[in-house]
């Protein structure tokens, strides 16, 4: 019974924790401009993140060490450093966007300007990172993030023509009002949002925090293979809601407030209040995950003691990194840079950093010295190789498409 509860809790938190500000904004924006014609990218991205999260989770469970702790040891300091710089830069950008997202959610609830909320949001995130137990943090925000199911309910309540929606999603094509480069720019952005590097950083390091062992492999795989795809369903629901309400009238999403409007139209105040809880939980939870990921990556590269499973004084440098990252995030946001723009850039740069993040995972997961009998099988290697080609293509296309389309304008 206890094991069943652990599996259920793991799946629920994986669903609720899957969506972050990047997923919310990008899916809402894409839905309002392209309908569900880019839903295939979400499906592709979710399969990809499942493949690599399973690999990194398996590495953590078998070796007792997170994947990136092994990257430097296995691939040397040069590759390790490239991996660190690329993924950490993107994760820090995402961390900034998430703190901004928390402030925007609070602004929507209170109508107090988000700039006034930023120091408070940053402080609250830092306090949770410093004081709150890892499992409590993960479970509370993961479960509260489930509030975003309200978008699926809103879509159902809007009474769409399901066959039209299915046709849009299953027969992808460039809408008449958009051009091909813009379509593919947003395809890359959605792919980057779904496969953002911090998810595997956090997943593998979190496995070590929770002391996974070989017997936890089944639970880990269930969380990944059930929780993440259901989290992907939430992403598609957000896109569907904006496709139904905004696409016919020409609204293009560029604020978090617009993301929730279809829920208000469909379900009224109660639905909108639930969506606001979802916005807050998703962004706050992801801020904690990205903040920790910044600390994990730097500490693991330099070989410092890291993690929340030891007292802060025992991982002092790790906590200093968390504090500095939070201060940086607050400082950047107080320059009045638009958090939604930061989000939009973070998902595209995320796509650029993908090969440097995922290639080392594939190498480590194939090394019998670390993995013993649990090295990648044929299916994992085949999928991993196909996705390496995809992430490489996305990484190479991201910047040229950004310039060509003026960042999707």
């Amino acid at each position: 019974m206890k094991r069943l509860f652990a599996v259920a809790l793991g799946i629920l938190t994986a669903i609720g924790g899957f969506v972050d500000i990047g997923d919310m904004v990008t899916n809402a924006l894409v839905g309002s401009r392209f309908g569900l014609s880019l839903a295939w990218v979400v499906v592709t991205g979710v399969i990809g993140i499942c493949v690599f999260a399973e690999m990194s989770g398996r590495v953590a469970a078998i070796s007792g060490r997170p994947t990136f702790d092994l990257v430097r040891e296995r691939l040397g300091p040069r590759v390790g450093f490239a991996n660190l710089v690329a993924s950490m830069a993107v994760t820090l950008l995402t961390f900034i966007a998430e703190i901004g997202g928390v402030a925007l959610a609070l602004e929507l609830a209170s109508s107090v300007n988000y700039l006034l909320w930023i120091p408070l949001a940053g402080f609250a995130v830092w306090l949770v990172l410093w004081r709150v137990k890892f499992s409590l943090m993960e479970n509370v925000f993961g479960l509260l993030g489930l509030s975003l199911i309200v978008f699926a309910v809103a879509v159902w309540q809007l009474g769409p023509d399901w066959s039209t929606l299915w046709n849009d999603a299953s027969r992808p094509s460039v809408p008449a009002s958009e051009d091909a480069p813009t379509y593919f720019y947003y395809a890359v952005a959605l792919f980057g949002a779904a496969m953002t590097p911090y998810e595997v950083f956090f997943f593998s390091s979190g496995g070590v925090e929770e002391r996974w062992g070989p017997r936890d492999l089944t639970i880990m795989r269930t969380n990944v293979l059930v929780g993440f795809p259901l989290g992907g369903v939430l992403s598609v629901a957000i896109a569907a809601s904006t496709a139904l309400v905004f696409l016919p009238v020409g609204v293009q999403v560029d604020t978090l407030g617009q993301v929730g409007l279809p829920v208000a139209v469909s379900l009224g105040k109660v639905g909108l209040a639930v969506a606001l809880i979802g916005f807050f939980a998703a962004t706050f939870g992801a801020a904690c995950e990205t903040g920790l990921s910044v600390g994990y990556s730097i500490s693991q590269y330099f070989g410092w003691q890291w993690g929340k499973y030891v007292r802060p004084r025992e991982a002092a440098r790790f906590h200093v990194v968390l504090l500095l990252a939070t201060i940086t995030g607050i400082a950047v946001l107080l320059t009045t840079v638009d958090p939604v723009k930061v989000t939009e850039y973070s998902v595209v740069f995320s796509a650029v950093a993908l090969p440097l993040t995922y290639f080392p995972i594939l190498i480590v997961a194939n090394d019998p010295d670390y993995m013993g009998e649990k090295v990648n099988g044929r299916v994992a290697n085949a999928l991993g190789s196909v996705y390496l080609v995809l992430v490489l293509a996305a990484a190479l296309a991201a910047i040229p498409l950004m310039i060509l389309t003026k960042a999707g304008q």
Binding site: A82, L108, S111, Q252, A264, L276, I399, A407
Partner: protein
């Protein structure tokens, strides 16, 4: 270090290039910018319409609607400023287009400002008037967009 420097340089170039507002090189290009401005204005006016409609039906919290409408108002100000800063080509048609688009975007901004003021007041009549004005402005913007296609 060299690779890092190249990557930083490429990133900086990408950010600069995507942030630039290119000057209009001819009437067609100017029409393209006018069309984009009208499309962006439609997006903001329709967002405000949905928010005001939801307020009238008591389907949205006042702070949420207020933030959403205020954001639309700021966006319209930015659209107006961005289009106003583009140098039109030396062509009477371009001057006429400039006047039309500027007037439409300004009217949209004014309608959204009225909606923002009404959304912060308890009386429903103001909101209803704001919605009527937004409907009119949206129709004019739609007509302009069709003409510019």
């Amino acid at each position: 270090v060299k690779a890092t420097r190249h990557a930083a340089y490429a990133t900086a170039c990408a950010l600069v290039l995507t942030a630039c507002v290119t000057p209009a090189t001819g009437t067609d290009s100017y029409r393209g910018k006018a069309s984009a401005s009208i499309e962006a204005a439609i997006s903001e006016v329709e967002t405000t319409r949905i928010a005001v409609d939801a307020l009238l039906d008591d389907r949205i919290m006042v702070p949420y609607a207020d933030v959403t409408i205020t954001a639309a108002e700021s966006a319209l100000g930015a659209i107006s400023a961005a289009f106003g800063s583009v140098q039109p080509p030396d062509d009477p048609q371009a001057d006429e287009l400039r006047e039309t688009v500027t007037a439409l975007v300004d009217a949209a901004e004014e309608a959204v400002t009225d909606a923002r003021i009404a959304s912060r007041r308890p009386q429903q009549a103001g909101l209803q008037d704001a919605l009527t004005t937004l409907d009119d402005v949206a129709r004019e913007l739609d007509a302009a967009e069709v003409e510019l296609r």
